[in-house]
């Protein structure tokens, strides 16, 4: 019986250690869950051709949509750098100018980002409409979105 107890203790220890190891290395990785546009512009050549994610705010009046070819182009910004994005296909409804979005894809040699997936985000804040939406609140929202991906 004593041997059995030891076995369970040992097993529990290994499981906890494995989980902790995975979470620890996961935390390190999730720091680059997505890049910001300015980071991407900075390291251009190093990340060329690799699949990655970019997150930022969709620039006002930058969305172009061609229903014939299903080509969607827009710009993502974090206030400093701006990235051109080409996406084939449709985008989620919450995806709009001035809102936060994360795109998955590759940075091409032609100097634009080819996206294979667009994710729109809304924040976890719920409040009554006492304060109408302002530019400031949008900036706050954007900041909170960025914070998640990159502490």
């Amino acid at each position: 019986m004593k041997k059995r107890k030891l076995k369970y203790l040992l097993a529990g220890g290994i499981v906890v250690a494995a989980l902790a190891g995975m979470i620890y290395s996961g935390v390190q990785e999730s720091m680059v869950y997505f890049y910001t546009p300015s980071e991407l512009v900075q390291k251009k050549d190093a990340v060329q051709g690799k699949s990655l994610r970019v997150g930022g705010m969709v620039v006002e009046r930058s969305i172009r949509w061609d229903p014939q070819t299903l080509l969607l182009t827009f710009q993502l910004t974090d206030g400093q750098g701006t990235v051109f994005v080409r996406h084939k296909g449709t985008a989620p409804d919450l995806f709009k100018e001035g809102a936060g979005a994360v795109v998955e894809g590759t940075w091409t040699s032609e100097g634009f980002f080819r996206s294979s997936n667009i994710m729109a985000k809304h924040s976890e804040e719920y409040k009554p409409p006492a304060h109408p939406e302002t530019l400031e609140s949008k900036k706050e929202l954007f900041k909170s979105i960025l914070k998640e991906g990159k502490p």
């Binding site: 097993a11 290994i14 494995a18 989980l19 190891g21 995975m22 290395s25 996961g26 690799k50 699949s51």
Partner: protein, 227 residues
């Protein structure tokens, strides 16, 4: 103690493999099924190579998993049909050795099937995977270990059920989602040209899952087998 465990495990595996080599029921079924799956994908997808490239990692793993499941479903067949589960229980020593023995056999069969599927996939679908084979094999092995560990446990559990053919996949796939997801993503990155460093976090994750399943499943096996 460890040597004893290894010796018993080896005996169990050897028994399964010799039985299989005599009849070749399971491995033949698995290999034919795998070839058939690759064949059917062709009709399901059409000739567009662009689409194929995008879905290739998923297809590859679908072929691996379904073939593997076919093998798992039969892994306790002999014991069940010949009513010798009780004899299995009378084997002296820890139950872990029975589990590891069965697991080693299952991994062996699944890896054999994968060794056929992988090159066939490359040939039939014109994918240039030859240089990537070592890293693909590593991912395939890590995925197979995790999948088979849970699979062996569930196969023992469902062997006594009514409707076991349905219950095995129904329980197996939700529980192995982490392994499947990790394997498919890692394969995807490798096929896209990323090196092993690129997929290192998925490999770490897969390794972690394997360790946890390899520790938890044999302990749980003891409760499944007791009578």
């Amino acid at each position: 103690m460890l040597g004893e465990l290894l010796r018993r495990t080896w005996a169990m595996t050897w028994k399964d493999v010799t039985v299989e080599l005599r009849a070749r029921e399971r491995i033949n079924a698995m290999l034919f099924f795998a070839a058939l799956v690759l064949f059917i994908f062709n009709f399901a997808l059409g000739p567009d190579r662009e689409t194929l490239r995008e879905v290739a990692p998923g297809l590859l793993w679908l072929a691996f998993l379904f073939t593997g499941m076919l093998g798992l479903g039969r892994s306790f067949q002999a014991e069940r049909e010949n009513e010798c589960f009780e004899e299995l229980l009378l084997t002296p020593g820890d139950r872990e050795s029975i589990f590891f023995g069965k697991l080693a056999g299952n991994i062996l069969f699944m890896v054999t099937a994968e060794a056929l599927i992988l090159p066939l996939f490359g040939i039939l679908y014109n994918l240039d995977i030859w240089g990537l084979l070592p890293s693909l094999a590593l991912v395939a092995f890590l995925g197979t270990v995790g999948f088979s560990a849970i699979g062996t446990l569930l196969a023992a559990m469902t062997a006594h059920l009514r409707a076991r053919e349905v219950m095995l996949p129904l329980l197996l796939f939700p529980l192995t989602v982490p392994v499947i997801l990790g394997s498919v993503r890692a394969t995807e990155a490798i096929l896209a040209g990323g090196g092993l460093t690129e997929v290192s976090h998925w490999l770490k994750l897969l390794g972690g899952f394997d360790v946890i399943f390899l520790v938890v499943c044999p302990l749980a096996f003891e409760f499944v087998l007791e009578e």
